[in-house]
């Protein structure tokens, strides 16, 4: 692997031990994936922020990198944490957990990383343009950046994204190279999709097809007439969760789709297929729903406006979490949405979500519009799940 003079200096420790460690990680990854060189990146999104996932080991590592002089060289933002950083008690988080989570956030802050914690960095100012090389972790955001924005990133893990932040580099392999962005499978959608849960169900179906094939994970999707930002955000989260995909093309919608033609390998999905995929996330044995959540991925301002419209003057009867990015929450506050939601007895929290908060054992059954949230509620937090449309989730909270 060919390194520039400054990359060699980073590797030799001339910029301190943290930069050295970061470059060692990138060189090893470049070696494994046979990259010829490093490329500069201009934006990074780091995952591995919730103390619930990191544990003491991860916190130790981050503290050591901060102590070793690590400083973000490019715009770097963070994934959701295990709590609302400005209001830890709002979600019933223990003071012990809050203390450890704060130490994680502080370590990132010492490295010059912007500590707004969200899985939708593209909604809060970390917005790469077409063709821009970036290094993002957070699988749903990776999928959104590659597919909807046309930026270029691999599916980074926490340490490799941090390494990219501290050096401003990433090895040139995978989805950074044009030849790896071509699709190998076409999904023909013979259905009208309008709701987030339907797009999530499509992500689940397409994801399973990708998993069966194992090879290239890029799909070409035909037959979607219209998709809102919110629909695409939900689809990205689901496709990445169930198919490990980092990139898709959607005819007429995503910017690189017109560079490619449908592939010979093609699968068709009908309205019935979509409905049955959505139903497959509904636990038959689900006891009564006791936890309702919207915000996986974090809600847009338009979605929060809709929640407020539906909750105005009502009272929720179940625990209802609405999770979003801090800047989006601030917009919601200015518009009076937050007050309406809180008056209805629901909780609107920033920086966190039902996937990464430490909630195992607190609830039995989750109702959500997110196919991704269902996966983690079941696997990580041992909950039953019910997938429904956005509006139905709000009505469920009022039942």
């Amino acid at each position: 692997m060919e390194l520039t003079l400054s990359e060699k200096q980073m590797l030799q420790g001339e910029f301190g031990p943290a930069t050295r460690k970061a470059m060692e990680i990138l060189v090893a990854l470049g070696t494994i994936y046979q990259a010829e060189k490093m490329i500069p990146v201009s934006s990074v999104q780091v995952s591995g922020v919730s103390y619930d996932n990191l544990g003491e080991a991860g916190l130790d590592f981050l503290s050591e990198m901060a102590a070793g002089g690590g400083k973000a060289q490019v715009l770097t933002t963070l994934n959701p944490a295990g709590m609302d950083i400005e209001d830890p008690t709002s979600l019933g988080i223990s003071p012990e957990f809050a203390g450890q989570q704060q130490r994680v956030i502080d370590a990132f802050g010492r490295m010059g990383i912007i500590t707004t914690c969200t899985c939708t960095p593209y909604l809060t100012g970390n917005l790469p343009h077409y063709g821009e090389h970036i290094a993002w972790a957070e699988s749903s955001a990776v999928c959104y950046a590659n597919s909807v924005l046309g930026a270029r990133t691999n599916r980074e893990g926490g340490p490799s994204a941090l390494a990219a932040a501290l050096t401003g580099r990433t090895p040139a392999y995978g989805l950074h190279l044009a030849e790896n962005r071509a699709p190998s499978l076409t999904i023909q959608v013979k259905a009208q999709l309008t709701e987030n849960d339907e797009f999530g169900a499509l992500g689940l179906l397409a994801g399973r097809q990708i998993e069966m094939r194992k090879q290239n994970r890029v799909v070409y999707i035909q037959g979607i007439q219209q998709a809102s930002l919110e629909n695409l955000k939900s689809f990205c989260a689901s496709l990445a969760t169930y198919g490990g995909a980092g990139l898709f093309h959607m005819q007429g919608i995503t910017p690189e789709a017109n560079l490619f033609a449908p592939t010979a390998d093609a699968v068709e999905f009908s309205q019935a297929d979509i409905q049955s995929a959505a139903r497959s996330l509904n636990d038959e044995s689900a006891a009564e729903i006791d936890f309702v959540s919207l915000g996986c991925p974090h809600l847009s301002i338009l979605e929060i406006a809709r929640v407020a419209e539906l909750l105005r003057g009502q009272k929720v009867k179940k625990t209802f979490w609405i999770t979003t990015a801090r800047p989006t929450r601030q917009m919601a506050e200015r518009m009076g949405y937050t007050a309406i939601i809180e008056e209805a007895g629901a909780v609107i929290a920033a920086d966190t979500c039902c996937v990464v908060a430490p909630i195992q054992g607190r609830f039995h059954t989750l109702a959500t519009d997110s196919a991704k949230a269902c996966y983690y509620a079941y696997g990580k937090n041992k909950m039953k799940t019910r997938l429904m449309s956005f509006d139905e989730v709000v009505y469920e909270a009022l039942k």
């Binding site: 460690k21 060692e24 990680i25 090893a28 990854l29 070696t31 494994i32 995952s47 591995g48 996932n53 990191l54 544990g55 003491e56 080991a57 991860g58 130790d60 590592f61 893990g157 926490g158 340490p159 490799s160």
Partner: protein, 129 residues
């Protein structure tokens, strides 16, 4: 016997080989405090990887697994070295941040379970003692 592979992380150590033909998930599959494999049904379930030359085809599971190796190192329960057929991101990053010598591109069935080995990460060689 001398085997030659590819350096993932340098350093020279001696230890006993612990060999499996199954993948290892460090997050959830290995106890981060004791180094014992806890994955249900794994061929090495109940055995400790501490101080061993851990030989397995490739890593699997959550990327948080890199931090598990780091945790093991901090409590002196990490493997002495790791030898893979094909190293992937989780194991590679884990070895680098934990400074555990690591090699890959080795034909694993040449290594006998329990053999005493010297692993030299820098030259990419494994020597049976």
């Amino acid at each position: 016997m001398i085997l030659t592979g590819r350096k993932i992380y340098g350093g020279k150590v001696t230890g006993q080989a612990l060999v499996t033909t199954q993948g290892i998930s460090f997050f959830g599959g290995v106890d981060p405090e004791t180094g014992v494999i806890v994955e249900k049904g794994h061929a090495l379930e109940g055995q400790s990887i501490s101080g061993k030359i851990l030989v397995f085809p490739t890593g699997k599971g959550s990327t948080v697994g890199s931090y598990t190796l780091y945790r093991l190192k901090k409590v002196n329960k990490a493997p002495a070295a790791i030898v893979n057929r094909e190293c992937e991101t989780i194991t590679a990053v884990g070895c680098i941040i934990s400074e555990i010598p690591c090699l890959d591109q080795i034909v694993l069935d040449q290594i006998k379970n329990g053999a005493m080995l010297c692993v030299d990460g820098d030259s990419g060689t494994i020597t049976e003692l």
